[in-house]
């Protein structure tokens, strides 16, 4: 009988134990997958902001319309710069306040919402020139400030490295959790199937033959647990996305995305490998000691 068939037969016979094990593995993997999801989304926002090459030129309140038009024309004529748009103080106020009835925001003075020129850098070469362009714009007397959002990119990078560290730490915790769960399950399964193991050894089965189905079961528990975790997280992601998509998109400049399929496959493979390795190692000694009596 093939090892997969033997493993399936054993799983069916002890379904409850296997389901509990898969559930425990799934809980551990949800933590890891959630951390990865956060990292993936922070990275997406960072990349979006870095690549978007947006910039805002805040104008002094005393800037005349001729001066504004001059800057606008100069920007529009600059290679790689496009979508130059004038946002008046009133428009800025409207954009920020939106439909909000927040008393604090509505009480802000007009100076809190300066008029600006918003523009986009349309290619990578232009993005690289943003610092130089900012310097030139700041030198103009009727320009208050230039915001290139680089600082936000740096902050997101820092947040991202923190997220990666947290994910690595969680990976360690998940490894320990999965090893512990699968190892306990395998030892329990071995105990429950001691009669079967005894019979197998009596009729001349090698340790590898006896261990085979247990290793497959360990791999299945790890893989199914990880797949269940990805599925659970996917459901949560869909719920959150459907509820907050618009607001999050406006706030972050990017829509929340799910783990790439390669990461999902890698998680399932990781689960399978840890499960199989744990089962193989945890049954090494018990099987050597097992003899028919």
């Amino acid at each position: 009988m093939k090892v997969l068939e033997r493993a399936w037969r054993a799983t069916k016979a002890d379904l409850r134990l296997h389901v509990l094990s898969v559930f425990s593995v799934a809980v551990a993997f949800v933590c890891l997958a959630a951390a990865l999801l956060v990292v993936v989304n922070i990275d997406a926002v960072r990349q979006r902001w870095e690549q978007s090459g947006r910039a805002s030129v805040y104008l002094r309140s005393d800037a005349t319309s001729q001066q504004v038009e001059k800057v606008r024309a100069a920007l529009s004529a600059t290679p790689g710069v496009g979508g130059v748009r004038f946002v008046s103080s009133e428009e800025a106020r409207r954009e920020v306040l939106g439909a909000s009835n927040d008393d604090v925001l509505t009480a802000l003075p007009p100076e809190a919402f300066p008029a600006s020129l918003e523009f986009e850098l349309q290619d990578d070469a232009a993005s690289e020139r943003i610092a130089q362009l900012s310097e030139q714009l700041r030198a103009l007397p009727y320009v208050e400030a230039v915001e290139t959002y680089e600082a936000w990119g740096e902050r997101l990078k820092s947040l991202l490295s923190g997220g990666v560290s947290a994910a690595l730490l969680l990976l360690g915790v998940v490894l320990l959790a999965v090893i512990s769960v699968v190892s306990s399950t395998m030892r329990m399964a071995l105990q429950r199937r001691s009669a079967e193991v005894e019979v197998l050894k009596m009729v001349g089965a090698t340790d590898g033959y006896v261990r085979g189905p247990f290793v497959v079961e360990g791999a299945m528990q790890g893989a199914v647990g990880a797949a269940a975790a990805v599925g659970i997280l996917g459901c949560i992601h869909v719920i959150i996305r459907s509820s907050f998509d618009g607001a999050l998109g406006t706030l972050l400049g990017a829509s929340p995305s799910f783990l790439p399929w390669t990461a999902c496959v890698a998680l399932v493979l990781l689960g399978a490998i840890i499960g199989a390795a744990t089962a193989a190692v945890s049954l090494r000694q018990p099987l050597v000691g097992e003899t028919c009596s």
Binding site: E196, V199, V203
Partner: protein, 278 residues
């Protein structure tokens, strides 16, 4: 016999340099450079040579036991409880190691086998226990088929041979039943079918009738005798004197760690008298 058989190899008693056997394999000894050794057929299948075994230092179970079993013999092993019947059988299939002495099965000393070779030894030996040692949640067929599955026999052949084995033990048509749902006598028949389905050279029975009523015990003994008729060597350990009286078979009595051989069964009055005197 099913597996672990050589194309040709040699050992200490063969007088030829031993041929290399695959790592982890149990290889009975034959003369080198020959695919078939005619003299092997006349050699004893099992030889105990001055075997000592003790679980506790001060309580030896076997004290210099020497015994030869020829191919195709049916031998009763008897003795009181704790005399060492089960130990003797466990030494043969390497569930125990002898402290001293040699146990030659098909010319190879099983007491010195590497652990990785033990499974290959066991593929040549069928064992039947008093408590059946079945997997209760498996079907009858699954319990029998396991002996062939570990050998990697094709499923179609497994089905055919399991059917034949169940037919031989009188359980034809019961293959789909759960082992747990069968009676004691039927369970013992499953265990016997499992032991013989791979056509072993040697069949060991460790008190196989101990849990059965007297009539069933005689039936089971008859079954072992039928199997023996096909050329299988049988060692039948029992303390049930009534079974020994049924047939004039060779009886080995274990007492105080030594074996007394009664060649023609307990109907050999002279031999029994000698045993009583001893």
């Amino acid at each position: 016999m099913n597996s672990g058989l050589p194309d040709g190899s040699c050992g200490p008693d063969g007088g030829h340099p031993a041929q290399e056997s695959p790592p982890g394999g149990f290889r009975p000894l034959l003369r080198g450079s020959q695919r078939f050794d005619p003299s092997a057929a006349h050699r004893d299948i099992l030889v105990f040579d001055d075997v000592h075994k003790a679980y506790r230092e001060d309580v030896p179970v076997l004290k210099g036991l020497s015994l030869e079993i020829a191919r195709g013999e049916f031998v009763f092993i008897t003795g009181s409880s704790g005399a060492g019947k089960s130990t003797l059988l466990r030494l043969i299939y390497a569930a125990e190691r002898a402290d001293q002495g040699r146990i030659l099965f098909l010319g190879r000393d099983v007491s010195r086998l590497a652990p990785s070779s033990v499974p290959f030894l066991r593929r040549n030996i069928g064992v039947v226990f008093q408590d059946f040692k079945l997997v209760p949640n498996w079907t009858v067929s699954q319990n029998v088929a396991v002996s062939l599955e570990v050998l990697g026999v094709a499923p179609k052949v497994v089905r055919q041979r399991v059917g034949e084995a169940l037919d031989r033990v009188g359980l034809a048509g019961r293959g789909r039943d759960r082992a747990a749902n069968l009676s004691g006598g039927e369970r013992q028949r499953i265990a016997i079918a499992r032991a013989i389905v791979a056509e072993p050279a040697l069949l060991l029975a460790d008190e196989p009738t101990g849990n059965l009523d007297p009539q069933l015990a005689v039936d089971i003994l008859g079954l072992f005798e039928d199997i023996h008729e096909t050329g299988v060597t049988v060692l039948f350990a029992t303390h049930d004197r009534s079974l020994l009286d049924v047939r004039p078979r060779r009886v080995v009595v274990l007492d105080e760690g030594r074996a007394t051989d009664i060649r023609h069964g307990l109907n050999d009055d002279a031999a029994v008298e000698r045993l009583k005197v001893a």
